[in-house]
Subunit: 112 residues, 2 copies
């Protein structure tokens, strides 16, 4: 499971898929199958979590890679998963490649 | 720090801010200050991580709340942080409220 920390050099990919509410369940299924059957076998893949928006209009993948180069090597492979190929026919997506700049924890109001 | 697991009932908020590259550092500063000085004191706040896109055009906050109600109570407060007020003048944002549907770990190709 992904653990988010600062300064560990991990390359984070956050990909927000926008989808018609009637297609959200299918999109979740396709992205799950693509990750289970293909992406998680790629060298450099560390962890990922798939999120379903409560309003039905988004699905977001949060993925951690050992390095930007590992992620880009996966993206440039010609053998795209058929599940991923179907996913992009029912959803628009906007991926971002990130580094973690800050992590926050709760603070109690008592005791200033 | 956020740990992403499935079935823990956590309400996840993923907020993607789009920004001009020249404003990214300032936006990171404002969102950090808003979270440090205000958001993390709100009951129900569990953890969050702020991410900077490597291309300079996005900043994404990944936040975990005890429940949807806790998050919505924070959003409806009239005393918005001045840092957050300035942040929305330099960035567009698109928040999503999510539940985790699946978590993935790496799998070796050896041994099928």
């Amino acid at each position: 499971m992904p653990v988010i920390t600062k300064g560990d050099g991990v390359a984070t990919v956050i990909n927000v898929f926008t989808v018609a509410p009637g297609d959200q369940a299918r999109l979740v299924e396709l992205l799950t199958k693509a990750t289970q059957s293909s992406v998680r076998y790629v060298p450099g893949f560390l962890a990922a979590a798939l999120h379903r928006s409560l309003d039905g209009t988004k699905v977001t993948m949060y993925a951690q890679w050992r390095s930007v180069e590992d992620y880009q090597r996966m993206r440039s492979r010609p053998d795209t998963s058929p599940f991923l190929a179907e996913a992009v026919t029912i959803a628009a997506f906007d991926p971002g490649l990130y580094e973690v700049v800050e992590v926050f924890q709760p603070k109690a109001t008592q005791g200033t």
